[in-house]
């Protein structure tokens, strides 16, 4: 029971961190977020074959072939496929993210128009307010 709780919490924390990073909408954070989400999902698939300690998925002679003696091999096969696919897709995403950074000069995922400009402007405004130096009197503020 405690093992199951620990495992469930681990998957949940990974997923939560992934979603948080994904919502930051910067391409590097996004890549990290999707990676964490794919870790969470891979673990989830693996654990869906039930938690088993000290059991292999390879059949030995003389041991009855059921799930009390062996780990379920199918989720292990599924998770292998899922890992390979998510690895490849992360590579694609990294290539796209690097290209987007080079083309746009910044790493915000929404490069032009809409909300993203608003957030960029908001960040700029905050930076300017923080670094604000009052101009000498008689000059128009920038």
């Amino acid at each position: 029971m405690s093992l199951a709780l620990l495992v469930a919490l681990g998957v949940g924390v990974l997923m939560a961190c992934g979603v948080y990073l994904l919502l930051r909408a910067r391409s590097f954070d996004m890549v990290l977020g999707l990676t964490l989400i794919s870790y969470a999902v891979n673990l989830f698939i693996f654990f869906m074959g039930r938690l088993a300690v000290g059991k292999a998925a390879i059949i030995r002679a003389g041991v009855p072939e059921n799930l009390t003696n062996y780990a379920d091999p199918l989720p292990q096969a599924l998770v292998l496929t899922a890992i390979v696919i998510s690895f490849g897709m992360t590579a694609v995403l990294l290539a796209v993210a690097v290209r987007s950074y080079v083309e746009n000069g910044h790493d915000h995922v929404d490069a032009d128009g809409g909300l993203d400009v608003a957030t960029n402007v908001a960040t700029d405004v905050v930076t300017e307010v923080v670094n604000y130096v009052p101009p000498p009197t008689g000059q128009t503020p920038q």
């Binding site: 994904l22 794919s38 869906m48 496929t81 995403l93 796209v96 993210a97 987007s100």
Partner: protein
């Protein structure tokens, strides 16, 4: 030969495409003529397979193929029923015209375009054929990976940004898909859709919530693919960024989502099953709203690609509405509308590829110029009529069938209002875009434009109207088949693996 083709019919469309992709890679990047020849041969074979599948399934046959000869719930099963036969034929047809547009128009071809193109067709065929949930995920990834590649060719700033959104939302969708599949496996111990259909109804009360959650997660994933309402905002940007022949191929990708939703509602969570009613209720709100938003989007579109993109969203909404209504007649109408709207979307995209919207009011008023101009306008009109649902084209027949089938549905008022209002708004949108493009001459013919592929699609649409009766008979049968999942379950789970021919000299342990 024929016996071999029939025995392996369900794997052939996938295997041919994969083989062609590998061969085009082997031939080498520079030898475009040889690559084209390979792709044409492959598409020809795929068309043959699809025609054979449609012909054979029309007599009530269903092809079940057990991969590696494993029995159904344990191995992966591929199934050709009437729905997948229709989709195979559409894929091969659209693949052929897109290929024709790509080669005839003399467009520059990006690096490894042809291998990616074949992989995309492989993913589409596989997604339509598979009867295994995890295998469906794998084929989704194949077609998505190929589409990322094709989208990023000749990428400029706009395309890269659109591709970023597209890749991210689809990766998230894949993660959700895996969660749903793993949940279903954890509860039922199977991933075969036919087996799932039986086991889901037999789960105990303590696991019902898990199974329901998995079902709705699947719907969310498929709604991302089909671009239903809150999840549709990636579509217009992506389609606008794609080169137009590629966008015509992408028109099939939303249909993958629609077909997957149809499978979910008819096979995995069938009528009268655990949460089918909840799913239908949710979709009957979301899908009509999608149509309305899509019609408003179409009305606000400033360029042709965005307009067509919004119509793709709208047609997905229409199809899902019909599947959610769930009457056999509505499903039949939806399948009819699916054929027409897919062909029309491809026609509109290929036709838009002939227009150069950047150079407005060009002076191409020579005789041949204006004749070609007239053809472009006519193709636009045909496509618009199908998408808006105007008679005499197939869009009208499909929509009318769906509306007639929903007369006894409790949500009839809501459905009729939305469908008719959305149709009116699309007519306005297309009329405005058409008069701007073709009367005000806000565009010119693109150099090297080709009319044959669009013409083929126009002929296909016209014949869909002329031969509406036999097609509708086929879609009626397909709908009846979908409404009775026991047929599919019996065929898949009852399929007996091929017996191995016994080698006379083989004795146990002789090879050791």
């Amino acid at each position: 030969m024929m016996a071999f083709a029939l025995q392996h019919l369900a794997i052939l469309p996938i295997a041919i495409a994969l083989l062609a992709a590998a061969l085009t890679l082997l031939v080498g990047e520079r030898r475009l003529a040889q690559q084209r020849a390979i792709v044409w041969v492959a598409i020809g074979l795929m068309l043959l397979c699809a025609v054979l599948a449609v012909y054979r399934t029309s007599s009530g046959q269903m092809f079940v193929y057990l991969m590696s000869n494993w029995r159904a719930p344990f191995g992966i099963a591929l199934v050709i029923d009437k729905l997948s036969a229709i989709m195979l034929l559409l894929t091969a047809l659209i693949g052929a015209v897109v290929m024709a547009a790509q080669t005839r128009g003399g467009r520059p071809v990006g690096t490894y375009f042809y291998p990616l193109f074949m992989l995309q067709l492989m993913g589409l065929n596989g997604a339509f054929l598979t009867a295994d949930l995890f295998n469906l995920f794998v084929f989704f990834e194949v077609l998505l990976a190929a589409s990322y590649g094709m989208l990023l060719q000749h990428a400029d700033r706009v395309r890269t940004n659109a591709a970023t959104h597209y890749v991210v939302i689809n990766l998230l969708g894949s993660a959700l898909f895996l969660i749903a599949a793993a949940l279903l496996y954890g509860v039922t111990g199977t991933l075969n859709m036919a087996d799932l259909s039986q086991k889901i109804n037999a789960v105990g009360p303590q696991s019902r919530a898990l199974v329901a959650a998995a079902g709705f997660l699947l719907l969310v994933v498929f709604a991302i693919k089909a671009a239903l309402l809150p999840l549709n905002f990636w579509l217009t940007g992506t389609y606008r960024a794609a080169t137009l022949p590629v966008a015509a191929l992408f028109a099939l990708m939303t249909k993958v989502g629609v077909v997957a939703i149809a499978r979910t509602l008819t096979l995995i969570y069938p009528d009268g099953g655990l949460i089918n009613a909840h799913m239908s209720q949710a979709l009957l709100v979301i899908a009509p709203l999608t149509m309305l938003v899509a019609a408003c989007g179409a009305l606000s579109a400033r360029d042709v690609s965005t307009l067509i993109g919004w119509s793709v969203v709208g047609s997905a909404g229409m199809l899902v509405t019909a599947f959610a209504v769930g009457e056999p007649k509505a499903i039949s109408g939806a399948l009819f509308y699916l054929i027409g709207s897919t062909l029309a979307t491809a026609l509109l995209f290929l036709n838009a590829a002939n227009l150069d919207q950047a150079s407005a009011r060009a002076t191409t008023d020579t005789d041949s110029g204006s004749r070609r101009w007239a053809w472009t306008g006519a193709f636009f009109l045909i496509g618009a009529a199908v998408m808006a649902g105007l008679p005499p084209f197939s869009g009208f027949i499909g929509k009318a069938t769906i509306l007639a089938a929903s007369t006894s549905h409790p949500a009839q008022t809501w459905l009729w209002t939305v469908v008719l209002l959305a149709a009116l708004l699309s007519i306005l949108a297309y009329a405005r875009m058409g008069s701007r493009l073709f009367w005000k001459r806000d565009a010119a013919l693109a150099p090297g434009s080709s009319f044959v592929p669009a013409g083929v699609l126009a002929i296909a649409l016209a014949s869909l109207t002329m031969f509406a009766a036999p097609v509708q008979r086929y879609t009626d049968q397909a709908a009846a088949e979908l409404k009775r999942p026991q047929i599919m379950i019996g065929n898949v789970l009852g399929k007996i693996p091929q017996q191995k021919p016994v080698a006379p000299t083989a004795t146990p342990g002789a090879n050791k």
